[in-house]
């Protein structure tokens, strides 16, 4: 908080704090859970929430933020659609003395003072964690021989897709250069239908795949159906690691069809409200507040399942 601008509070007093929150969209269950979490946390904290949905478009998000500036909200928070291109509007916010909190992912800026903090996870790290947990999965399954991986990517060009692939590859290249190989990789657009269809094609062209890494649970679940239709056993013939940790993913895992899930927690509403309050009150906050997340293996699935809210 080297710039100390959060002190520029306007009223304070009895008036409820107004938070402008610009969400990416509602492209997945994960995202919806994220929005819900923010909304309910804001309600609980007694803040006035201005919520807007950008329908996956950066320009919408920018104009939403502009509008928040015009409306003179106390704090602006948003989950950036993309990581780049925020300088101009963030400078306007800064000029209007409105502190900005990022959620979910960071942005690239030239000037670090443009936002106060980031509440969220790190997609690249999720990729790394996926690779790490795959090691455990392979070990548990007593797998021998080459590891032939099929990768189901998210929407081409989307940050989670790129970074989850990057993180995974990083570990793979570092530790498993010889024995692991990504034999096929295609986008399943983060959807079940996509995952199913792509996996069906993979199984035709590369019947010897023995590991699947899916960038989210939904594609993994779709792929499971394709694997079953091909007469193979998901979780046994083909080991599956996915990211996200939605409820359906855990159900599949408890049925033994997914071997491990790397959690990416959408429920960061309460954390966000905390941070907003601190920022508003001029307290010092950390530059990056990581969400609490963990990785799950099959044996933890049963226990974790009831805790899944979305």
């Amino acid at each position: 908080k080297e710039d100390g601008k959060p002190s520029g509070s306007t009223g304070g007093g009895g008036k409820a704090l107004t938070l402008g929150f610009s969400q990416v969209g509602s492209e997945s269950g994960w995202r919806t859970a994220n929005s819900e979490s923010v909304k309910s946390a804001a309600k609980e904290a007694g803040y006035t929430l201005k919520f807007s949905d950008a329908q996956q478009k950066q320009e919408n998000q920018i104009s939403a933020i502009r509008n928040y500036i015009a409306q003179k909200v106390d704090v602006i928070a948003f989950s950036p659609v993309v990581v780049t291109g925020w300088d101009a509007v963030l400078k306007e916010a800064k000029a209007a003395k409105i502190p900005v909190v990022l959620t979910d992912r960071s942005v690239e800026t030239s000037d670090d003072s443009l936002f106060v903090t980031l509440v969220g996870s790190d997609f690249t790290d999720e990729g790394r964690r996926a690779a790490k947990i795959l090691e455990k999965v392979l070990e548990k399954a007593g797998h021998k021989g080459p590891v032939k991986i099929a990768q189901l990517e998210g929407t081409t060009g989307a940050a989670p897709a790129i970074e989850r692939a990057k993180g995974f590859k990083e570990i793979m290249d570092a530790d498993h250069k010889d024995d692991w190989k990504i034999v096929v990789s295609q986008t399943g657009d983060f959807t079940r239908a996509g995952g199913k269809q792509v996996m069906a094609a993979f199984l035709q062209s590369n019947p010897d795949i023995n590991v699947l890494y899916a960038h989210n649970d939904d594609m993994g679940i779709g792929a499971i159906q394709a694997i079953e239709a091909a007469g193979k056993k998901p979780g046994k013939d083909i080991l599956i690691v996915t990211v996200d940790g939605v409820k359906d993913g855990f159900i599949a895992m408890s049925e033994g069809k997914i071997n491990a899930i790397v959690e990416c927690n959408p429920l960061l509403g309460p954390q966000l409200m905390d941070v907003v309050k601190k920022v508003k009150d001029g307290e010092k906050v950390e530059r990056w507040i990581k969400t609490e997340e963990s990785d799950f293996l099959q044996d933890q699935a049963k226990d974790a399942l009831p805790t899944r809210k979305y």
Binding site: S26, T187, R192, Q197, S205
Partner: protein, 361 residues
């Protein structure tokens, strides 16, 4: 001579090029997946690339068939993707509320509800286009935008997962060793063909699309026909919506049928129906949809890197269109056998001898 002329006649057939492209695309896969054409028995049903092309292509075929009629009337329906989402969402949310998700009656009721919603969307589109006279692209844009919102409203923005064996059959199950969806598609396509060619509907649709004013003046109730085709199109999209949600046993308000309208329109055009309306070909549309689905599968199987998927798709689409364009074939392959001057053998008529100057000056 006869063989070449027969070949000519064959290449002139309006379905020749779609078929040729389809076969070509299928063959492209062989070097990458040598057993591409093999079909084997797995778990009591047939399994293989060809089977999955039909299975995954079924929703697209359905939507495209409905779209064909709309396009034939000179319209266009952008809302099909949203209708797919709404139908799936309604049906799945109803089923998921059921205590016994596999109860047949509940499943049928749920599908009924979903399809009624689709029909309502179709009626609305038809009303805007035919009664209010709003341009189709903008009239259907309304549901395209709002419909997905409605679908998400129904699913609460979540993916609704259901566990219903009978429902699973429509889009993901097998019957007589074949994907059940093949039968659904076959029934819908056959019904459409019967409906359009055995009754006068096809003729009237083509007439409305070919010349709207003339059709009005011969007393065709074009408003009614337009409403009918929009409803039919929405119904097809609804069935496709059932299939898509059944295939994964889940309703995804945001992603189900996303951009399917573009693929459907593409399929219609590859099938030889002009976007300006008029003549249409259901068979061509089915082929067009198969071409697109094969293209998608090909992209997955031959290992195109994700970032070049779209470039590849663009290249194929352009190639298909160029091949289908007579002008292009003429310019590139044809050398057009011009100047085969066939001087008249007839006795040349009595031409007045002298060019008398008739200038009245």
């Amino acid at each position: 001579m006869t063989t070449t002329s027969r070949l000519r006649a064959l290449t002139r057939h309006h379905l020749f090029w779609p078929v040729a492209v389809l076969i070509g695309l299928l063959l492209v896969n062989v070097p990458f997946t040598p057993d591409f054409f093999s079909v084997k028995m797995t778990d009591g049903h047939l399994y293989g690339s060809l089977v999955s092309i039909v299975l995954f292509g079924s929703p697209l075929i359905l939507v495209a068939v409905g779209m064909t009629l709309v396009i034939a009337t000179g319209g266009i329906d952008l809302s099909v993707g949203a209708v797919v989402a709404i139908t799936g969402a309604l049906t799945c949310s109803y089923i998921s509320d059921q205590a016994d998700q596999s109860a047949l009656s509940a499943v049928f009721l749920a599908m009924g509800i979903g399809l009624v919603a689709a029909v309502v969307c179709g009626l609305w589109n038809g009303f805007l286009v035919a009664r209010m006279g709003i341009q189709p692209i903008i009239a259907t844009l309304i549901i395209m935008v709002a419909g997905r919102g409605v679908a998400q409203l129904i699913t609460d923005g979540q993916i609704i997962t259901i566990n219903s064996e009978p429902y699973k059959l429509i889009g993901g199950g097998y019957w007589l060793t074949l994907p059940f969806s093949i039968f659904v598609v076959a029934v819908v396509v056959a019904a459409t063909m019967l409906l359009t060619r055995r009754t006068a509907l096809g003729l009237l649709v083509e007439s409305v699309g070919g010349n709207a004013e003339a059709s009005r003046l011969v007393g065709i109730r074009s408003a009614r026909i337009k409403i009918m085709v929009y409803v039919f199109c929405a119904l097809c999209a609804g069935i496709a919506g059932l299939m898509i949600s059944s295939n994964t046993s889940a309703a995804d308000g945001n992603n189900a049928g996303l951009w399917i309208e573009l693929d459907a329109i593409l399929a219609v055009v590859i099938g030889g129906t002009a976007l300006t309306g008029g003549r249409f070909s259901i068979g061509g549309t089915v082929l067009g949809a198969l071409v697109i689905q094969t293209l998608t599968t090909t992209i997955y199987t031959i290992g195109v890197p994700t970032q070049t998927n779209l470039v590849f798709k663009a290249a194929v689409v352009i190639a298909v269109c160029l091949l289908q364009s007579p002008k292009f074939r003429e310019k590139v392959f044809g050398r057009k056998t011009r100047r085969k001057v066939t001087v008249p053998a007839q006795p040349v008529a009595p031409v007045e001898p002298a060019p008398k100057t008739e200038v009245s000056r």
